[in-house]
């Protein structure tokens, strides 16, 4: 586990918020990449490397392997069990590093890992999960044996490809590429907030997700000068040191929404709907409503907590404007974001949000989400984000207001290539959620709501399970992921011949679809 001696942020949340707030140094955080190995003894990789008892501990394998599959620690005679999750597989035989051939005793064998074949799904394949884990560990692009660019859904992003020019412009240099994105295009008096990378973290509520993970996300947002979002569960005191990077979400249940949580937020997000369950309310299962969660939400311990759908106070764009005006009075410095799902008239919704005064229209496509939701809703209600982005972008262009509002896309953004595709379709930036959880070793088993919550300690409020993940580890894994993504994104921009996400926005000429002729 990555040590963080320079920044001894407490591992747990047992201290009171006041204790923590009295030590601002705890909130210092860096975007520096540090190796952050997996937290399980047997990390799942694509291949298995087996060493038999014929091994004479000659150390030849450790010498040839550049991927650190074979490690013999200093002053130790025997190498440790192979870290086979790092192995790139049979393709290694084409290089001079193939341990199987190099072993003089023929004590090594390589096989496919049967567990890996059970990993993943159509959207997040085993390759993509393992690649994300590797990025979270190393902070850099994954090995080429893992396809982290496309899944197997057979449509949407997985059928879109970036169209790279044969040669990038001569005068474009990688170091000149900026990944900054401006979030306030309205030209009003409110801050011209910028994020350093074209993504920020989506809402995950206190109650649905481990506090350690939530704090890790906020710390990462601070390190990378971007944002994370409270979700609907209220504003943890422990997030206050990162307040400049935390979006306060106002959703229909109004859980934890107080004047001070609005006032400290640089962005306030109204959640009208969410992609995981478009048109349905939120539902925190009673088992996750522990005493601290209930206190935060001002509810009774152990009861299921419902967020109704929709806002009872909004029947029209004019009502929506009243909502935004309310926030403006409470916090005149906050940017206003409207998070909506993707109905058939999503383009009209976006225009309505603009005229109501929103700075950001956040489109959350139907296949995304991290929280527990009815399967029937996840699969069937509202359109996938790939259809919504350009529909909204083009409509805003036609209305002459595209340059006055920021379009954020979410719901199925898995990697930097998806980000580039979403921006080329017309988004300004994206929101991510699942990827941050995968960086924290989520395997997408989908059992977030079972029993005590996530068995892997990510989406749980169970005090014992939460201890599976330390705040340092969660932070460093996401920091590393962000760094890997930024490196890869810059590389994509360079190859596309554009100097930043703003220049890429709406460039559908840089896209192609495998099912279409042009």
């Amino acid at each position: 586990m990555a040590s963080d001696t320079q920044n001894p942020v407490p591992n747990t949340v047992t201290q009171s918020g006041e204790d923590f707030l009295a030590r601002p140094e705890y909130a210092e955080v860096s975007r520096e990449v540090r190796p952050c190995p997996p937290r399980y003894r047997n990390e799942i990789g694509k291949y298995r490397v087996h060493r038999t008892s014929a091994c004479t501990a000659c150390g030849r394998c450790a010498e040839v392997c550049p991927y650190d599959v074979h490690v013999r620690a200093k002053e130790y005679q025997l190498p440790v069990r192979p870290y086979d999750y790092r192995c790139i597989g049979p393709d290694c035989a084409k290089t001079g590093h193939y341990c199987i051939d190099a072993c003089p005793e023929k004590a090594l064998s390589l096989s496919e890992n049967p567990t890996f074949k059970t990993l993943g799904d159509y959207r997040w394949t085993g390759d993509m999960l393992a690649a994300t884990w590797q990025m979270a560990e190393t902070g850099h692009a994954p090995s080429p044996h893992l396809n982290c660019e496309t899944g197997n859904t057979g449509g949407g992003f997985d059928k879109l490809r970036l169209r790279f020019p044969e040669k990038p412009p001569k005068d474009l240099r990688r170091e000149d590429i900026s990944t900054e994105v401006l979030l306030n295009h309205r030209g009003d008096y409110r801050p011209k907030l910028k994020i350093d990378v074209p993504w920020y973290g989506g809402g995950m509520s206190y109650g649905s997700t481990s506090t350690h993970v939530l704090i890790g996300r906020a710390r990462t947002a601070k390190a990378w000068n971007t944002f994370t979002c409270t979700g609907e569960g209220g504003y943890l005191d422990r997030l206050i040191p990162y307040a400049d990077h935390v979006i306060t979400q106002v959703a229909t249940g109004l859980f934890g929404v107080r004047e001070e949580t609005i006032q400290r937020a640089p962005i306030v997000e109204f959640k009208y709907a969410q992609g995981a369950k478009p048109g349905l309310g939120g539902h925190l299962l009673g088992g996750k409503n522990t005493p601290p969660v209930a206190a935060m939400r001002e509810a009774v311990v152990g009861t299921s907590l419902f967020s109704p759908f929709p806002f009872h106070s909004v029947y029209s764009v004019e009502d929506h404007k009243k909502h935004l005006d309310w926030i403006e009075h409470v916090n005149p410095r906050a940017l206003l974001s409207a998070k909506v799902s993707t109905p058939i008239d999503v383009d009209m919704v976006a225009v309505g949000s603009y005229y109501a005064g929103a700075h950001i229209i956040h489109l959350d496509g139907s296949y995304g989400g991290t929280g527990a939701a009815p399967n029937v809703a996840k699969k069937n209600i509202a359109m996938p984000i790939e259809y919504a982005i350009n529909r909204v972008h083009q409509f805003l262009v036609d209305e002459g207001i595209r340059d006055k509002i920021t379009v954020i896309a979410s719901g199925g953004i898995r990697n930097p290539v998806d980000i580039a595709k979403a921006i080329a379709m017309g988004a300004d930036a994206v929101v991510i959620g699942t990827a941050e959880l995968v960086a924290n070793a989520c395997i997408r088993c989908g059992a977030c709501e079972s029993g005590r919550g996530c068995a892997r300690g990510i989406t749980t409020t169970d005090p014992e399970l939460m201890e599976m993940i330390s705040i340092q580890w969660a932070t460093q894994r996401i920091v590393n992921l962000y760094n890997a993504w930024r490196e890869m994104f810059v590389d994509l921009l360079y190859r596309l011949g554009v100097d930043g996400p703003t220049a890429l926005r709406g460039r559908t000429d840089l896209l192609m679809h495998l099912d279409y002729e042009s």
Binding site: N42, E43, I44, R81, P114, T115, K117, T118, Y122, R123, W124, N152, T153, G154, D158, T252, Y272, A273, G275, G279, F306, S307, P308, P310, V314, V340, S341, P343, I344, V349, T370, G371, A372, A373, P374, N375, V376, A377, K378, K379, N380, I381, A382, Y387, T434, L437, C442, I443, R444, C445, G446, C448, A455, L511, M512, H513, D515, Y516, E517, S518
Partner: protein, 467 residues
Amino acid sequence: MPEKIHIHTEPVPPRVRPVGRLGIVDWREDCAGCHNCVKRSCIYGLWGDENETLHEERGYLDYIYQCKGCLICIQDCTKGVLTRVINPEYERLGDDYFTPEVIVTTWYQAETGHIPVSGAGYPGPHSGPGFDSMWTDMSEIVRPTRDGIHGREYISTSVDVGRKLDHLAFDGGRMTTTAPPLVEVPMPVIFESLPQRWHCGNLMPTVTRAAAAIGLFSVIRTGEIPAELSLEQDRVIPWLQSIEECADGEYSAAAMAMISDGPDVAQWQAKLKANNPDQIVAIRVPASPAVTERARELAGDGMEVIHLVFDSHGREDAPSAPRHVRDVLREVHTALVKDGTRDGVTISASGGIALAEHVTKAIVCGADLVAIDVPLGIALECRMCLDCEQGGICPITIEDTEPDYGKQRVINLMGAWHQQLIEMLGAMGIREVRRLRGETGRCMFFEDLEDDTFGRLFGKRKTEISV
């Protein structure tokens, strides 16, 4: 407030060992005996349960069915000797329409009566054939009750079966129109005549009584109606086989009757009506490329219910490229709307309804209600191995299903489907399912979205979209 449907569900554990997706293969010979997996890792306690109960007399080991696949035991194993695999028995379940996922989720709903819920977003393909190429709409600000999950009881799922008038006539303030008979069902589902393979044990009365307990109807071919069933009390729709049966009045107590389409269908119907003018008569029409014309004729002739029959995968009977129920329904519905006869006739669609969402989508495409059969057998734990059709023995001895047990399993399934129907209606902002019929504007079709988005950007498709 009018009485609303409430389907009472209660847990009904499986009778035989269910087939789970994941299994953990244990290489015992390398095991260090540390018991990390048994005592510590599994937060669900499944390995511990297995260890404690291994030698007890049980019908099955729970862990194969219940394993959530969290990988904790595998990743924490001291010697790394555990491996997760897909259960090959799981992969053999069903077919390409009633997939293993469909079967297992149906079992879950029949066992618990709950809506299946999971986290981490939708893991499936972008789209698929048939109903999987449709997405229903949602509204950002409209919900029929505006009261979240607690207002769902105000969403009506009942439909009227029969002929409806397009206007009423009055003379001197008195209505001179005689309203035709109607039957109201509390949710837009009827139970189709069960496939022959499930004509065993007590299955037919079990399923029929489950339907009646909810207020639904069951189609049973005459000659196969168990003597213990009452046509009236058990809401049986007798499927009559001859004009003599129609004439003799034996089945006139049934609120609805069904006859097969044919040249003399009007005469058959007249015989039934002569015995019981209030009996609703459904005409059973096999779906084929000519079905739309036939439906127009029947609707024009004043028939009350057209029952369109597709195969179990929702395909019409055609020599090549059969269309899915989705497309046939849209064509039939649109044709009847253009003729001005759509409101006069009830259309039910039978075949290809495998999941709760298919009910909603079939109605969006133009049906008033649907008929289901295969999911009922799956609710009774059928694995769709079809060994029985080859003369083999049923691996789960489905014929031994206890009536009360089977009845509750089917009720649970319908309870879960009903809840899902309400969720989808609520998301659309539609307060009653009657208004959903043919509302394709509240739905998005794959081919339309592709054309509007990628067609606009990238021009012509390389291959035609086949849904």
